[in-house]
Symmetry: C2
Subunit: 159 residues, 2 copies
């Protein structure tokens, strides 16, 4: 009985952390914007200007919605298999969107001289810093979902 | 007994498919190169010029090495839990690397006018086509690993 309560508290804490991290990632990325004038060219930076960042915001928003709903579902045992499959789907969605956004963020930071793409983070530093924060938060959320998955595999099937 | 043989044949076929797909993705991406002269600027395109593509090649190579080794391991039941954890790790590695490479490939194809990044696929079409092939192969490999995971969860734990 004590082990079961302990398990529930542990899983619930992880799920609350995941909710916080995905919500933070969504809000920080959506509110990030900056602009700069370089010669005659105006740099503007917003998440909606780049499809990888749009994908990131949609994925984090879906994950935070799911994290909220599952707080109420997870206490019922009849849903445990469905919740595990959905946890796996959400973990993969988070990994995929964080990887895509990080790859483009890397181009934004370092540029790619072979393709003639200049780095833009020197000009729109405020946007880059905020996007970096959102990416770190998204990465944390993905790691938390992996922990939830491994923990539920461990307790439900391997014990 | 028949079900067990059938299960082994099915898993083995999926693992062989995964080996083929990851090997094809690695080789097609590594051999892709093209160059073009535009005004005074020489475009050269190779996977090693972009970190997301390097990550893709390394991940696909690791996954094909693992897919080969696991063909011999998977027949022994004592390894089944380890193999399942490794399958999950490889599936996530594949999803992450395919997402990162696709995000950068998207920039290469469409460019990003807000950041001043021009599309390059018009100039180095041969590279772009071959990279697209590698990405599709990598995506297939990721899907096959998801099928392997779901199938082994289904047969080993939920039956």
């Amino acid at each position: 009985m004590i082990t079961k309560t302990w398990k529930m508290i542990f899983t619930l804490s992880l799920r609350l952390l995941a909710l916080t991290a995905t919500l933070a990632a969504t809000l920080v990325m959506v509110t990030a914007h900056d602009s700069a004038e370089v010669l005659n060219f105006t740099f503007k930076a917003k998440y909606s200007y780049e499809s990888a960042f749009k994908y990131f915001v949609v994925a984090e928003a879906i994950a935070s919605g799911y994290s909220l709903i599952v707080l109420f579902l997870s206490s019922k045992n009849s849903f445990s298999r469905l919740v595990m499959i959905l946890d796996m789907v959400v973990a993969m969605l988070l990994i995929s969107s964080v990887s895509a956004a990080m790859a483009v963020a890397q181009v934004g930071k370092k540029g790619n001289s072979h393709a003639g793409w200049l780095p833009i983070c020197g000009e729109v530093a405020k946007f880059c810093n905020q996007a970096t924060g959102a990416l770190i938060s998204g990465l944390l959320a993905a790691i938390i979902y992996l922990l939830i998955l491994i923990y539920s595999l461990h307790t439900d099937y391997w014990s």
